[in-house]
């Protein structure tokens, strides 16, 4: 069952099309991530769900209740939708406890108890209750913001780039904590980010936006493996893109013949492989695969990204490809290597 349903949402700012016919369903209890470059309209979409913005046309419903259509709209304060913005946006004139308790209807000891419970759930020390927002670190502020939004037991949780202001080390930990919290509370969540790795790691459902349009939605693995087009492919991670001739489930390309997930025939198509699908061996004569030379080496600790320049090629001789290999096993520059492919290549429909 779907918690949130967006139907044909359109919104323009002047002549600028911010949202172009966006339709999306968010299953109950899921974590949906909307990902896209800045200016793609993802934040506008989020603010529209929260009730801070209003579309020019389209409709929006939550748990079967119509929040917005052409005849009426439910104002933000009656939607019970939690919102956590990028910088936390704590109320600077209120203590941590007052911030968290802002949305609580209860008073007295019950309220204090609930605040303590919430602080505990986001791993904030109890003695932080009397602190002021400017005395907190970025991560702490973000956790207060999360607790504040969770306090009112929202029907839906919206997170707008909640981790982007945090240090890299902190980010992954926060991400895990948020995922756990949302699962514990059983809250459906939508998270907006421009960071693809964050998106892939956090999402049950991933929706890619570009220029106000929802380009593709589905499970993260599905989108990673089978992006609809070149831009989406590159946006979701490093990719090897090559021209190929497709025939009977095989692609003829610079790497030689490889299998593809496509049954049609085409004289001129584009195929995609993820770098981790290329496997590297030290060259020995007669072994199978495609021959090349290591021309660049980017040592990154446990993985090393190599640039391999192919010796021959049907379409473009001397093509350079990124290849990942274990850092300790990376061959030096100038090594002759062989490439073999794992799994199938994906044919992009251009």
């Amino acid at each position: 069952m779907n918690a949130l349903e967006l139907n044909a949402i359109c919104k323009s700012f002047g002549s600028q099309r911010a949202l172009d016919n966006v339709t999306l369903a968010v299953p109950t209890g899921s974590r949906t991530v909307i990902v896209g470059p800045s200016g793609s309209g993802k934040t506008t979409l989020l603010r529209m769900i929260a009730g801070f913005e209003f579309p020019d046309s389209g409709s929006l419903s939550l748990n079967g209740q119509i929040l917005l259509d052409s005849t009426h709209e439910v104002p933000a304060h009656q939607r019970r939708i939690g919102y956590v913005p990028q910088d936390g946006a704590l109320f600077p004139h209120m203590s941590v406890a007052a911030n968290i308790g802002f949305g609580l209807a209860t008073k007295g000891p019950a309220r204090d108890e609930r605040i303590a419970e919430l602080m505990d759930s986001v791993a904030l020390d109890a003695n932080m209750a009397t602190r002021w927002p400017h005395e907190l670190s970025g991560g702490q502020q973000q956790r207060v913001a999360l607790a504040r939004a969770l306090a009112q037991q929202p029907r839906l949780m919206l997170l707008d780039e909640p981790f982007s202001a945090l240090d890299t080390g902190l980010r992954a930990a926060m991400r895990k904590m948020v995922a756990r919290l949302l699962a514990d509370a059983g809250v459906t969540a939508i998270l907006v980010t421009h960071d693809q790795s964050e998106a892939l790691s956090f999402a049950d459902q991933l929706a890619v936006m570009r220029q106000g349009r929802l380009v593709q939605a589905g499970q993260p693995l599905e989108l990673y493996q089978h992006p609809r087009d070149e831009q989406t492919a590159l946006f979701l991670g490093e990719a090897v893109l090559m021209p190929a001739k497709i025939k009977d489930g095989w692609a003829d390309c610079d790497l030689g013949p490889i299998t593809v997930n496509h049954q049609g025939n085409s004289e001129m198509a584009q195929i995609m492989l993820r770098p981790e699908q290329l496997q590297l061996n030290i060259a020995s004569t007669g072994s199978p695969g495609c021959h090349g030379v290591v021309t660049e080496r980017d040592f990154g600790g446990n993985t090393c990204t190599l640039t391999v320049t192919l010796l021959a090629g049907k379409f473009e001789p001397g093509r350079s490809l990124p290849v990942h290999c274990a850092g300790l096993l990376a061959p030096p520059i100038g090594s002759a290597v062989q490439l073999t492919t794992l799994g199938r290549a994906h044919v992009l429909n251009n």
Binding site: A50, H77, R79, Y83, A89, F91, A149, A151, Q152
Partner: protein, 507 residues
Amino acid sequence: MGRGGTWVTGFAVLVALLSLLPIGFVIGVSWQVGWEQIQALVLRPRVGELLINTVLLVLLTLPLCILLGTALAWLTERSNLPGRRAWSLLAVAPLAVPAFVHSYAWVSLVPSIHGLPAGVLVSVIAYFPFLYLPVAATLRRLDPAIEDVAQSLGLKPWTVFLRVVVPQLRLAICGGALLVGLHLLAEYGLYAMIRFDTFTTAIFDQFKSTFNGPGANMLAAVLALYCLAMLTAESAARGNARYARVGSGSAREQQVVRLGRPATLLALILQTVTCLLALGVPLITLGKWLIAGGSEVWHWSELLAALQQTLFLGVAGALLTTCAAVPIAWLSIRAPGRLQRVLESCNYITSSLPGIVVALALVTVTIHFARPIYQTTVTVLLAYMLMFIPRALVSLRAGIAQAPVELENIARSLGRSPGRALWLITLRLAAPGAAAGAALVFLAITNELTATLLLAPNGTRTLATGFWAMTSEIDYAAAAPYALLMILLSLPLTGLLYLQSKRTAGR
């Protein structure tokens, strides 16, 4: 923007239209007077004389103010001068002494003092804090990394200052210089007392002889043009530089230059002399007159009445001005755009006109078209509003900027109605800014002379006009209690100004 926005915009437009009154008046009067008479009244030697006087005053005073203000700011912010904190407070303190009280002090100390040199001397002393404040604040929040980089590129410290620091001070210097320049054009009391004729004193003379006769009005028109020219010059000097967001400044300590022994001595002499001239002279003369006058000069009933009226006008004017500034401040943060910029520049241009021009305009307009408010407190307060709205605007805008719309949105997402969210979040956060703005307007009103003289209702006597009436009769002893009360009223607010500049720069 919806219904709310329409309301706010409508109110902001109303305020802007009101602020166009003085300019409209100048144009209207010129039209009415006709070209022939304009020629007779404007193209005459006396106007040339005034023009030369005023231009010379500006050309001599501004560079001196800039040099003094920047030197003191550098010493208190960037050197290891002993007693930096105290010196920095003392550099702002002269603001608590109204300009015409400075002049009064000098005239009683050196009775023969007069003309251009006196005008320049007293102006520099009275107005250099207007440069000190922004320059010191900017020096405090410059990113020290930039200077480090410059030094690492092989520049000598002095070269670093000239090539890296000074260009970054341009905005502060331009802003401060414009403020001083506009004061030079608008001030009456200071120059009247030391017998130096500027456009403003000449307009006042004409007013005394002819009320709002064409002679006074045409001089006012020329003065208004002069002010607009100054605004244009400043915006040209400012170039493409924009006022940087005063936000999270660098947390790092600024590096402090160690002064050698001779340099320390020179710096201490400069600080001491400035302090003696700017604070010593007024305080010593005031003390002298208070002692000479004894208890006789303390006409308590009159002094208290004047104090009461000053407080009333100050508080009412500050409230009105702050309320009037709210819509435009709100628009400039929440809905910036071309309309908002136009509205804001309307307020800005009018406030740069001297009080005498605004007052002449309001006298003429109310006497002919708005009799019910002619010679009432409403008109005086309106003049204060037109003259001082930017002071309220700046603080208020900073206050509203403290409360991003996002906070209000979040309050709404947490179940608070829009009205409650505005009240609980934005207004609470903007309140200190509004209060600071109101305080600045109050300070300006307590020292206001020209507009109050022309517009005050019958029987009104403020501390400033009381002081002026006494000094006009050369009763310097009787004027002293008025001056003392004005200084005492201004002191806490000057302190506030000082703290505010520290804080906006600190965080």
